[in-house]
Point group: C2
Chain length 258, copies 2
């Protein structure tokens, strides 16, 4: 009998989030599960790792019958602890999410959910990050169950090129019927136009809350933003080699060694 | 008379680090300076932003005669506060560093120094991150002063394509004469082999320190790791579009919409 694949599950919204519960439910028929997730929300932590503080790792009973741990650090810390301390080997697959909120376009860079998946790919593990365009804690994830299984099964069946991560985003829809399908996309160009909400503490000290609005500056119909606006599930294959190879030739024409 | 370019300087080692002092010294002849840097070390913070806590911003007297602020958040928070709250416009150039420690290869992903520069590029600002292959707080930066000026002047003189950041790393050398020159490179393939140092608190609770060793798995002679090992200054042009465009065709052949 074939051994069941070992699937490592993590996220950035913490082990108590509804999104990770959906992912655990979707993965259970597909393999053996190990969960290592943050013990508190770690949204917006990007690829941060914890080097100036110690890390704590605790067994969790959040999912009865499933081996699960919480970690005091970032999503990337969770992946490193899972691989180098808990199982001391590579899982067959890493899935991260489901994030409460979109990680399309440049949001991928700020995302703890996606950075955990990228860390998996750096370690040579086929990795998928899932996110839903809905920030609410009570978002509805169940209608994406079939799509999660389809995408995950395809990754398990294909040789997903090492060093590639799938950034999967689900559109905000109210019924499963509204989902138009799955589209392979490129990352849209856009950024956050920030507004800092300046306040004063009771003691009179100034402080700021980061707020803002994401603006899509990309008119392409092949982007993740377009797909999501048009009720498709978007998949962007992403990489962690940040080199812009085309630019190398241009830079070689500069006067850097005169 | 031509207006002096406005240069935004940040880092991740905090405003008191020797590396940022060198960068301020090197930039002073080139333009008007604004410094917004973390109030404490923020190494390994990657592209993290602060969304669950308020941010504090304070005027700093660290550099007499130069407008400077410290921020309680991450390097990326510093860039956002500079652009959207302090100057409410784009500076001509953003420089980040000089980091105490290499940001070559995949280290670029964990680096607060480089993520600040990437944030600048997302905002359309020509951006450069500088790092030295020496973690010590008392590292010697002065021998790179001419190279910093050369690279910065070239960026100011050329149309650096928007969306491109330069990841500049300096080799660990003891005299300026040992520097062989500047090489345009691609990001080497490698990763950290982690070791968690498990300890017990006086109360008997387990905790871990993240330690490890970076291993270069790339034999290419066109990589940043090769250049640094051979005493060249490495420059990798990096981008924040993480899409692996070659992989899109492959993924379109999968059975995702059957």
């Amino acid at each position: 009998m074939e051994e069941k694949p070992l699937i490592l599950i993590t996220n950035d919204d913490s082990i108590t989030a509804k999104g990770i519960a959906q992912l655990v439910k979707s993965m259970q028929p597909l393999g053996e599960i190990l969960i290592v997730a943050p013990d508190k929300p770690q949204s917006g932590m990007g690829h941060a790792i914890t080097i100036h503080d110690p890390l704590r790792l605790k067994k969790s009973k959040q999912f009865p019958g499933i081996e699960a741990y919480t970690c005091s650090g970032t999503p990337v810390d969770c992946v490193k602890l899972a691989i180098y301390e808990i199982i001391k080997k590579r899982p067959t697959l890493l899935v991260s999410g489901i994030n409460h909120g979109s990680n399309a376009a440049t949001n991928v860079l700020y995302s703890g959910t996606m950075s955990a998946a990228v860390e998996g790919a750096i370690e040579g593990i086929p990795s998928i990050g899932f996110s839903l365009m809905d920030y609410s804690w009570d978002a509805h994830f169940d209608m994406f169950e079939d799509s999660i299984k389809t995408i995950t099964t395809q990754v398990l069946n294909h040789e997903l090129s090492q060093s590639i991560v799938l950034n999967v985003n689900f559109p905000k829809v109210t019924t499963k019927k509204q989902i138009k399908g799955i589209k392979i996309c490129r990352q849209a160009k856009g950024n956050w136009i920030e507004k800092f909400d300046k306040r004063h503490s009771p003691a009179g000290q100034e402080y700021y809350w980061l707020t803002g609005e994401f603006v899509n500056f990309d008119n392409g119909t092949d982007t993740d933003e377009w797909a999501l606006e048009n009720q498709y599930i978007s998949i962007v294959p992403i990489q962690f080699d940040l080199t812009n190879h085309q630019q190398i030739e241009e830079l070689n024409s500069w006067s850097l060694n005169d």
